[in-house]
């Protein structure tokens, strides 16, 4: 294979990635992680907080990017609202994931509303809740307009809501958040093994690592054994199976 052929292959892959997955993720990546983002990094440093448990000093930036404004109109959500051209079974998984994300966002709202977290913990919960809202919005771009969930997946929320209500302290709430994120990451890993079309897989590939990162923050803050939040391989063992938790 010549270098030219190789470049053509990868350029095609890059191009299709950007066209289909939209450039939001890359735009965000450049905005936040560019080496030229010294000012942004400095800003984040100003938000260094101590989560207060396990001595974990964790910085949470307040750099918020209006996600909707970065989503190109040509993204998978077509003008006719038909959604992405993906197989029906894949679409069912994408819809499930969108409802899961809304449930996760709702869970974080409840966690914050319990008023047991300290300020940096609350800031983390709000940030991660926003991430889940943004995940839901991104997944919704793949779904036909009429099928986009507007309410959290009730079965998933029913798992976590009573736990949040019963939580007596910040540790208990962060443990719930940790379990939620571990479950989300595992669910996306499960989806990776089921999605037959690359478009759904490409979307999941951008989201799954973020849920894993959320879990690291809570696991570390709770001072849990590192093998609980830093496994060598992502498992789907703790997945919320769509067959069990499908929105009715």
């Amino acid at each position: 294979m010549s270098m030219r052929e190789l470049r053509q292959l990868t350029e095609r892959a890059d191009q299709q990635h950007r066209e289909a997955m939209n450039t939001i993720h890359d735009d965000l990546g450049e905005l936040h992680l560019s080496r030229q983002d010294d000012e942004g990094v400095a800003t984040r440093r100003n938000f260094v907080r101590n989560l207060g448990l396990g001595g974990a000093a964790v910085a949470f930036g307040t750099l918020l990017v209006p996600v909707a404004g970065l989503v190109p109109a040509a993204m998978a959500q077509t003008a006719s609202g038909k959604g992405a051209d993906i197989p029906e079974a894949d679409m069912a998984l994408v819809k499930f994931a969108q409802g899961l994300e809304l449930a996760a966002a709702a869970a974080y709202v409840a966690i914050v509303a319990a008023r047991k977290l300290d300020t940096p913990q609350t800031e983390a919960a709000r940030t991660f809740g926003r991430h889940h809202t943004e995940h839901s919005a991104a997944l919704a771009k793949l779904i036909p307009k009429d099928d986009i969930a507007t309410q959290p997946n009730a079965k998933i929320l029913a798992v976590f809501a009573p736990q949040i209500t019963d939580a007596t302290d910040a540790d208990a709430l962060m443990r719930i958040a940790f379990n939620l994120e571990m479950g989300a990451a595992a669910t996306y890993q499960l989806a990776m093994g089921r999605l037959s079309n690359w478009q759904g897989a490409a979307a999941v590939s951008t989201i799954e690592p973020i849920e894993a990162q959320h879990a690291v923050v809570w696991g570390n803050a709770l001072d849990l054994p590192i093998d609980q939040w830093m496994p060598a391989f992502q498992s789907s063992a703790d997945a919320l199976d769509p067959a069990t938790y499908a929105a009715s």
Binding site: A56, D85, Q189, N220
Partner: protein, 285 residues
């Protein structure tokens, strides 16, 4: 930041123990059973590895995940893969969209990923030996990362073999020459080692995300994303060590994936740059 050192050491011992116990089993399994001509069914192969079925591989922790990653490649071993392009449904949502990847890019990305894993192993080994990393928690974490990257390299090698391609079990020369060696040479303290590690992990994490949307089969996509999230986890812990936002963006980007020049083609690295030379100016007089 609090990473319990004793706990990390305990985990490393457990990992070593588990590897010592499991890896020979996998290797033996590969030799005896996953021979393409052996005619062993997928279910039998799954049974041998202690997993109930092909679709429920990822159920019992890291060792089994490694086994399943091996299986993903080996049980479908053939030189020519069937590209899945999303045309499997005949209902209203019929797709005509083809995958952005190809069988060639599958192999290229697997070899390249393995080379990045080997580079990471070497980088952490050198950094840990340098004496620059002094914070016990950081030492423990980097040691764990090194071990996990080694496991990833082994898993990717098995997957690569499984699709009928030759693994590339050498540190990526392009990234080594252009990024790691200059970075390690210039490193003066723990902070600079952490910065270099961050670049490596970010490159790895984004390369896996890229692969997750590029591979032509769901088996490959599933297998590669057993690894991608772990690199993202490494990244978050490195951010925490550096007092940076541990989850700075809501989506894993691909702009910082490994560059095309670092790819490992069928004949080896597509580009090996010249090592940067140090220019010294002779003192006047």
């Amino acid at each position: 930041m609090d990473v319990n050192r004793d706990e990390v050491r305990r985990q490393l011992r457990e990992i070593d123990h588990e590897s010592n116990r499991e890896l020979p089993r996998f290797r033996e399994a590969l030799k005896r059973v996953f021979d393409r001509d052996a005619g062993v069914s997928d279910d039998a192969k799954a049974g041998l590895l202690g997993v109930p079925s092909r679709r429920t591989f990822f159920t019992v922790g890291g060792a089994t995940v490694l086994g399943s990653a091996v299986m993903v490649g080996c049980s479908t071993a053939k030189k020519k893969q069937l590209t899945q392009t999303g045309t499997t449904e005949t209902t209203a949502a019929v797709s005509t969209t083809t995958s952005p990847g190809s069988e060639e890019t599958d192999a290229i990305l697997l070899r390249t990923a393995q080379s990045i894993e080997r580079l990471a192993v070497n980088t952490y080994a050198t950094a840990l030996k340098s004496g620059l990393v002094t914070t016990p928690e950081v030492v423990s974490a980097l040691t764990l990362f090194q071990d996990q990257h080694s496991q990833h390299a082994d898993a990717i090698a098995s997957i690569t073999t499984g699709i009928g391609e030759k693994p590339y079990d050498t540190a990526n020369p392009f990234l080594d020459i252009t990024v790691v060696t200059p970075g390690l040479t210039a490193a003066k303290d723990e902070a600079s080692v952490l910065a270099l590690a961050t670049v490596l992990e970010l490159t790895a994490a984004q390369t896996y995300t890229f692969a997750g949307g590029t591979f032509t089969t769901k088996d490959l996509r599933e297998a590669i994303m057993t690894i991608g999230p772990t690199e993202a986890r490494h990244l978050s812990l490195l951010y925490i060590f550096q007092d940076l936002n541990p989850v700075p963006i809501p989506f894993m980007a691909t702009t910082s994936r490994t560059p095309d020049d670092s790819f490992i083609g069928p004949d080896g690295p597509v580009k090996i740059p010249e090592a940067p030379t140090t220019t010294t100016t002779a003192a006047a007089g």
